[in-house]
């Protein structure tokens, strides 16, 4: 190996010398490598043009679209079903419906093959069935061995047209998805991406909505059946097949197989516009457990066919498309996984996003400032020739990788067709990329990317920052509360019979109390209460004076061994004074007071005169609820007709706790029966006993007295 020896010898000589001035060192380096070129001395031939395979396209008599592509390399038949629907059609109160329905179809099976029998059937054929929901597309994909190709498609047709949606499957799926929601804050990057998309498109927009426990709980089997009926009909479905088959024979077979599928529905309307209900700005999600900080800066992007996409892709590449990107060079030591991408959306605006992980959260403000500075800079001056050349080459070279895997080519082409992307899109995009100039990059940066209108999301522990994010100036910093809203118990809606029964029970109670009119005529009261906490809850004692005025004023003054506390609320807001310190009544405390106000006995017992729902849960129990989400169940004593218990969920710091109140020692005050003993159980355990020491009704209270601070 003479050449090898030469190279080694020359290299050894170079290393043996003392460091020479720069020019000779370079020359020596070239000499040493003369036998073999350096990587940047290579000349490459032209890249072979990308050949997009041609698809055969048919429409069946029932309106179903067929796309076929023969590929005989492997003994497989792969297919994708595209259905024109998506999560953008989810009703806001049932966010997640489309995705749920799809999973229920995949896991629920058909009448003939319920549950995992359908999955087993696919497995018998060496096939897999999966699905995906995006805002404006629902797709199911399968891949099976060619030998069983026909059987697989038969099974697919059943799964597609006759899903069973068995209840036990639905329940299991719900439990699983509840668990997924409960864990959605486990990993920083997942939190970041979810919140970023949510902020950019708006939590109340179908494109940014998050699925919460309460949404899941509202979805029932009827919804799934309706969903399937509405969207799964031949004219709304495309079947794309690629693999080892004969296209003509396959077409015949499919005509026969799907010919009997004749359901009709009105055409599907347009997908909603992407509204942007969140103002752009900075959003901070506190994640105390995160050792690192995660950030994303960006906003809504462009559609797939926007003429500026090539230039925008290059702009993003110059910013942070690879190690040579401006931001990569500036932030190399501080940020991992730094990328900038302009991703066009299929059917709706995509995303522009600059994001990364900051290893040491201390540097978060500096990192963000650097990003903002570079976003401004790229709109001020043209990029350099070298940058343009590099980014262009990278983008062009990456384009070829869209078609490397047999399994992914057909679904992609089918999607293009679905979204009306022309057949020669890839070749056109390639030409457009080649034609981008420095002036183009400047123009699109100015016209399509406004740093003042971008959204910044940071997921981190802000106490670790060098300075608060407010120090960056510009848009104010809003907080994202990552707390996952607890599953709410929602009011029952009874039928007419149970509503009648509820009124009967209430009427009897009103009479037993002393009369509905007397109850309605109570405009205030004052009561003195002695509290005794159960041993397991600390065993303490307290005394409270409570003053209430219709409709919703309350003032409580409590004295105990730990001091004095006063609370006031006018139904909407209030204050709390505790040991000298005073503050607004907020959060859980406010909710607790409002919950108590809802259950003030006198107005509660004449709920039939108010805008409230009444349902009899059983022969003795009435559930009362209002539009504000307040719910209480009252159990009436069979013998006396008076309230025996109240059951409700009280708001606490991280959710709710179930409460049972029990009433005893009814005495008469001003002609009304009042329980003078109340015991309270929390989560099934004894919590406290209340004894009313005195009670005055209609004492002539004044709001000014109630709201006067101690």
């Amino acid at each position: 190996m003479i050449r090898g020896a030469l190279m080694l010898a020359a290299a050894a000589t170079a290393l043996a010398q003392t460091p020479p001035p720069k020019a000779p060192a370079v020359a020596r380096k070239s000499a040493a490598a003369a036998a073999l070129p350096n990587y940047n001395e290579l000349k490459f031939p032209e890249l072979r043009p990308i050949a997009t395979p041609t698809i055969q396209s048919f429409t069946l008599p029932n309106g179903m679209q067929l796309l076929l592509l023969e590929d005989h390399e492997l003994p497989l038949v792969n297919g994708t079903v595209l259905v024109r629907t998506g999560s953008a059609f989810d009703p806001p109160e049932k966010a997640g419906l489309a995705a749920f329905a799809l999973q229920a179809m995949l896991q629920g099976g058909t009448a003939a093959k319920p549950g995992e029998e359908l999955v087993r059937q696919f497995q018998d054929f060496g096939a897999e069935l999966t699905g995906e929901v995006s805002p404006n597309l629902l797709s199911m994909s399968f891949s099976g061995l060619k030998d069983n190709g026909e059987l697989v498609i038969d099974a697919l047709k059943d799964g597609l047209t006759a899903p069973e949606f068995p209840q036990d499957r639905i329940d299991r799926l719900k439990a699983h998805l509840h668990n997924v929601i409960a864990h959605r804050n486990d990993a920083g990057p997942a939190i970041l991406q979810r919140e970023f998309v949510s902020m950019v498109f708006g939590k109340h927009s179908p494109y940014g909505a998050q699925v919460e426990h309460v949404n899941l709980d509202r979805i029932n089997r009827g919804d799934l059946v309706s969903f399937h009926q509405r969207y799964f009909f031949p004219k709304n479905v495309t079947l794309a097949l690629a693999g080892d088959f004969d296209a003509a024979l396959m077409k015949q077979r499919l005509e026969v197989l799907f010919g009997e599928w004749k359901s009709e529905q009105p055409p599907i309307g347009a997908f909603p516009d992407v509204g942007r209900s969140m103002a752009p700005g900075k959003f901070l999600a506190e994640n105390k457990d995160a050792a690192r900080a995660f950030f994303a800066v960006g906003g809504a992007g462009t559609g797939q066919l926007d003429k500026d996409n090539p230039a925008l892709e290059i702009m993003a590449g110059i910013l942070a498309g690879g190690l040579d990107g401006r931001l990569n060079r500036l932030l190399r030591g501080n940020v991992d996984g730094l990328t900038a991408s302009w991703t066009p959306g299929l059917g709706y605006p995509g995303l522009f996003e600059v994001s990364g992980t900051i290893a040491n959260p201390f540097f978060t403000p500096k990192v963000l400032q650097t990003v903002y500075d570079e976003l401004r800079k790229i709109r001020t001056e043209e990029v350099s020739d070298h940058e343009l050349k590099t980014a262009k080459a990278t983008a062009l070279n990456r384009l070829v990788f869209g078609f490397d895997n047999q399994l992914s080519i057909m679904p992609r082409l089918a999607e293009y067709q679905y979204f009306n992307i022309p057949g020669d899109y890839t070749r056109q995009y390639q030409e457009a990329l080649e034609a981008v100039t420095r002036a183009d990059v400047l123009r699109v940066a100015r016209e399509r990317m406004d740093p003042d209108k971008l959204t910044t999301v940071v997921v981190a522990n802000p106490t670790a920052f060098e300075a608060p994010l407010e120090s960056l100036g510009g848009a104010p910093v809003n907080t994202i509360d990552l707390t996952i809203p607890a599953p709410k118990v929602e009011a029952s809606v009874g039928d007419a019979a149970s509503q009648r029964r509820a009124r009967q029970l209430l009427a009897r109670a009103q009479q037993a109390e002393g009369g509905a009119d007397k109850l309605a005529a109570v405009t205030d009261y004052v009561q003195e209460i002695a509290y005794q906490f159960d041993i397991s809850a600390g065993g303490a004692q307290a005394n409270m004076t409570e003053r209430w005025m219709a409709p919703n004023y309350v003032r409580q003054d409590t004295t105990s061994a730990s001091g004095k506390i006063s609370v006031y609320c006018d139904g909407k807001i209030g204050w709390i004074v505790s040991g000298g310190a005073s503050g607004a009544l907020l959060g859980v405390q406010l909710q607790q007071v409002q919950s108590n106000l809802f259950r003030t006995m006198f107005p509660l017992l004449v709920s039939d005169r108010a805008e409230r729902k009444l349902t009899a849960i059983d022969d003795q129990t009435v559930e009362i609820s209002d539009a504000g989400g307040n719910i209480v169940k009252i159990v009436f004593d069979n013998a006396t007709g008076l309230p025996k218990n109240e059951l409700y969920d009280a708001p606490v710091a991280n959710g709710t706790v179930s409460v049972i109140e029990t009433y005893a020692d009814y005495r008469e005050v001003n002609g009304l029966k009042i329980p003078f003993k109340v015991s309270i159980d929390l989560a099934g355990r004894k919590f406290q006993d209340l004894t009313i020491k005195s009670m005055q009704i209609n004492a002539g209270l004044k709001v000014a007295d109630l709201e006067k601070r101690p």
């Binding site: 990587y39 060496g126 070279n397």
Partner: protein, 507 residues
């Protein structure tokens, strides 16, 4: 079976493809070995103008020297650090600066070694010296030049990682850039410079810090390995014990590669839009000059036979977790296919017995899985069953349910329908793997190294078809027994007051 993991549970089953398919592939594959021992396997696929490259070094964490666990992984992480000509502004100057860095670390290790004799403040001074030396070296560097060369030329899917058995580096390029790979890769193998050694070392140690603190399924899995294996290096984490990793030095990497990184120990696969004759010429030109090295020593660790059940309990506040490993033979053993089938029968996410019984019917688990081999398959390893108990359910309940399933496997043969179905599942998955350049480029060297012939990719499948229900039963009886079993579980600590036994030990 070779457990190539694409995703958590992906099994590789080399399945029965008719001889026709094998002949097709044989026509598309060229193989040759350079005189220095470097072996190339080239597979032509001309659908798209792209090529995938995969370099397989036949040494991994099993070859980590004692007290230097994590070394192979660290070497893998540094694959794109550059060479003596790529990534430097001035190699002679940089080399001197890097030597100064090494000297600084020598002094720091020395000072640390004094233990109580170390002088206060001396260490801080040495650390400052090390920072300065690093800064000097950085001045001479062209950071990320090697990586940029790949990315700017359209490189995608860059990956470099170590397993117990290998160090594998791969990426894909547009097919008109094939020569670029030859230049870059040959330089990397001949003259690597690990510029980011100490920075990556810190990151790797941080990644492994969870071994000290957390109570998580990953922690439990590591405990399983450390308990199950007495002497086989499989007992160590691939990424190393943190105490070992923080002490690794650049010289260790050099020694490792001197021993194991010779061309005779490397297999390279090139799959895609490539002309084999041209590729061979380029291989001779660029890789030919790399000097041959002697064969590396074989790891002689023999795992001692396990003669009784082992259990490891971890107590913590985290959600409970259970993992069970049964000792099983290496992948070249004739029983290997049966374990793949068993893992799918038990562990398929929807139709597997574990999911059906523990998750759906009994509702005692949130999820349950099976792995046919763990952590790797070249040596004696483990057939694994694991479960995450559902809320308010225990690891004991889950182990009991798993024991019942094992007993059923041992007491009667699996029904023909299930066996046929699972064989089809494995066949389908395998055929799908053959549709991608990257996947093929990863498979070919693996089979070559394990069986001596890439063709085994296609003919090992006959072994699946040959597995009968009776054989599966025999395998269950022979291997899935308490004497060969190790159990590791995570659960909350029992209440104080000597309740350890009442808490229920798992056997």
């Amino acid at each position: 079976m070779i457990g190539l993991r694409f995703g958590a549970l992906f099994l590789l089953g080399a399945l029965f493809l008719p001889a026709q398919e094998l002949r097709d592939y044989e026509r598309k594959v060229s193989e040759f070995t350079l005189s220095n021992g470097l072996h190339f396997i080239i597979l032509e696929r001309h659908q798209a103008p792209i090529v995938s490259f995969h370099t397989y070094l036949n040494a991994g964490s099993t070859e980590d020297p004692a007290r230097k666990t994590g070394l192979a992984s660290l070497i893998a992480r540094l694959a794109f650090n550059g060479t003596e000509t790529i990534g430097t502004k001035n190699w002679p100057l940089e080399k001197k600066a890097l030597e100064a860095v090494e000297a600084a670390f020598d002094r720091m290790d020395d000072e640390r070694g004094k233990g109580f004799g170390a002088k206060a403040g001396a260490f801080a001074i040495l650390q400052a010296g090390e920072s300065t030396a690093m800064g000097d070296a950085f001045q001479q560097q062209n950071p990320d030049e090697y990586l940029r060369a790949i990315q700017e030329n359209g490189g995608v899917a860059l990956d470099s990682h170590a397993t117990q058995d290998s160090i594998e580096t791969s990426y894909s390029l547009p097919s008109n850039r094939v020569e670029l790979w030859f230049v870059l890769e040959s330089q990397r193998l001949a003259h690597p410079v690990f510029r980011d050694f100490y920075r990556e070392r810190s990151k790797q140690a941080e990644d492994m810090a969870y071994l000290g603190e957390s109570k998580s399924p990953a922690r439990v899995r590591q405990s399983l390995l450390s308990a199950a294996f007495e002497n086989l290096p499989y007992r160590n984490p691939v990424l190393g014990w943190p105490g070992d990793v923080v002490a690794l030095r650049a010289g260790d990497a050099k020694d490792y590669l001197d021993t194991y990184g010779g061309p005779g120990n490397i297999v390279i696969a090139i799959v895609g839009d490539v002309d084999p004759a041209a590729a061979q010429r380029l291989a001779e030109r660029y890789f030919g000059p790399i000097p041959a090295r002697p064969h590396p020593p074989l790891v002689r660790s023999q795992e001692s036979a396990q003669s009784g059940p082992k259990t490891v309990a971890l107590w913590g506040d985290s959600p409970p977790y259970l993992i069970i490993g049964y000792k099983r033979p290496p992948e070249i053993h004739r029983d290997d296919p049966a374990f793949d089938i068993l893992a799918t029968i038990l562990g398929d996410p929807q139709t597997g017995w574990l999911h059906q019984e523990l998750v759906e019917q009994k509702e005692i688990a949130q999820s349950a899985e099976a792995l046919s081999d763990f952590p790797a398959a070249r040596y004696v390893n483990l057939f694994v069953v694991s479960a995450t108990p559902a809320k308010d359910h225990t690891v004991e309940e889950n182990q009991k349910a798993i024991d019942e399933i094992v007993a059923r496997l041992q007491s009667r043969p699996i029904d023909a329908a299930t066996l046929a179905r699972v064989k089809n599942v494995l066949r389908g998955r395998f055929v799908r793997l053959l549709g991608g350049n990257q996947e093929l480029a990863a498979l070919l060297p693996d089979f070559y190294v394990t069986y001596g012939d890439w063709r085994k990719l296609f003919s090992v499948g006959e072994n699946y078809d040959r597995v009968t229900a009776e054989e599966m039963q025999r395998v269950a009886l022979e291997y899935l027994i308490p004497a060969h079993r190790t159990v590791a579980y995570l659960t909350s600590a029992p209440p104080p007051g000597g309740a350890a036994s009442s808490h229920g030990g798992l056997q």
